[in-house]
Amino acid sequence: MDIATLSGQVFGYIPLGDIVLYFTPFNLFLFGGALLFTLLIALSNTETQVEARFGSLEDREVKVDIGEFKIRRFLAIVCGLATAGAMITGDLFNFTLFAALIGIVNLGLVAAVKMVDVLDSAFQYGIIAMISSLPLFGGAAIVLATTGTLSILELANSTVTPMVTFGSMLLLMGIAGETGVAPFYATKAEMFRTPGSPFLVIIHLSSLLVIVRAIEILLIINKPF
């Protein structure tokens, strides 16, 4: 399927050597959305969880201290920028690198929490994310070896061989593991059970956006219709 049918009319190109950025309404919308959300997060404060105590009238507040808050805000902004980069990039390998960066930053976001359960599930998610870097980069490398290019604009015109399909399937597996969707989401859902909400939401948003963009790229490469 060509780019114009799938994501709308191509507005223009920025040729940076062999890395060519291209702009479509689809791309720009996702890019703008990611940037807007990053801005909102950069301006916001963390939540405070309030737990009622049994047998007394006092409440217990779970707060995030200032040092942890600063680190989390920084990592959340990096995560948002990496998501925006993954939305706008026109290079397959850059896309996988942005996805891997999102995975690392997601780990960093929960690395400083004080709950052992959350750290445990973050460790499991990290192992999955690291294992899935094999299909992620391996798939991109197989696509490169078969078609001779990584530029999505060029890949839109290339012929589909079984090897390209194999590489794309590996890539899809890698994206699924790296963003922690369907088969691997159990550990990632556990990671949210900690205070500091608006920063943790970016973990969700980044994986959603990356999945949408990955499906677009895979449709462009494989041309199933």
């Binding site: 780990l107 709950m115 750290l119 870097s133 391996g138 991109a140 490398a141 490169l144 990584l150 090897m163």
Partner: protein, 228 residues
């Protein structure tokens, strides 16, 4: 591989082309063996180390492309791999600290080291190693200088050294990244200053490797604790 004949130039020998598919199979098999190892794992640290093996299998598949572009892709792949293993190692350490509820020493040791050399020689040996590493530069120099720093911190730990020295080393490591990146950028932006770029990158990677080697000692904490 069908269709490869179009892409591969004639100067490349058919042997190199025919080796591509075996390389992919070897990479996937290595990954599979590592996954089996993770399935039969004994502890969390074992899982972490075996996951690194999966990362190496990824590098095999990327390197199988065997063009200069593949070389350019191996480097970010390796960096991502390192960053992930450091992040997971950090989480592991943070979890163990929460579990034990007490601060862990700078470098945990399985046995008490009260050797004469740790009291009398650390500064001298460390300086020799670091200076020698500075002359070597690059990866090798980084490893040599790292051993020097590690030895110094190790011997200081016996006598008690404040942890902020260690955090300072981590800070220097971050600045080394900047040096490295600036050197790399210089290659592309102003190729006529390639020598300066080369030296910036070499010094950057040396400081980087030096501080990394030191950090490896900290990651062994969990294993040491089990033996006690």
């Amino acid at each position: 591989m069908t269709g490869a004949e179009v892409l591969v130039p004639n100067v490349v020998s058919p042997l190199v082309v025919s080796i591509y598919k075996p390389a992919i199979v070897v990479g996937l098999l290595t990954g599979f063996i590592a996954l089996l190892g993770i399935a039969f794992k004994k502890g969390d640290l074992t899982a972490l180390i075996l996951t690194d093996l999966v990362g190496l299998a990824m590098l095999v598949i990327v390197a199988a492309v065997a063009t200069d572009l593949a070389e350019a892709l191996v480097l970010p792949g390796l960096v991502v791999e390192l960053a992930e293993i450091l992040a997971i190692g950090e989480i592991l350490m943070s979890r163990e600290m929460r579990k034990t509820e007490k601060p862990v020493g700078l470098i945990p040791l399985p046995l008490s080291l009260d050797m004469e050399i740790l009291d009398t020689a650390p500064a001298f040996l460390a300086i020799i190693l670091v200076v020698h590493g500075c002359f070597l530069t690059g990866f090798t120099g980084g490893a040599v200088a790292g051993v020097g720093i590690l030895f110094y911190v190790l011997s200081k730990t016996i006598r008690g050294v404040p942890t902020h020295i260690w955090e300072g080393i981590a800070g220097i490591s971050g600045m080394a990244w900047v040096l490295w990146l600036v050197g790399f950028l210089l290659f592309f932006v102003a190729p006529q200053y390639w020598l300066l770029g080369l030296f910036l990158s070499a010094c950057g990677i040396m400081v980087k490797v030096a501080s990394k080697v030191g950090l490896i000692g900290v990651m062994g904490r969990e294993e040491f604790k089990r033996e006690k």
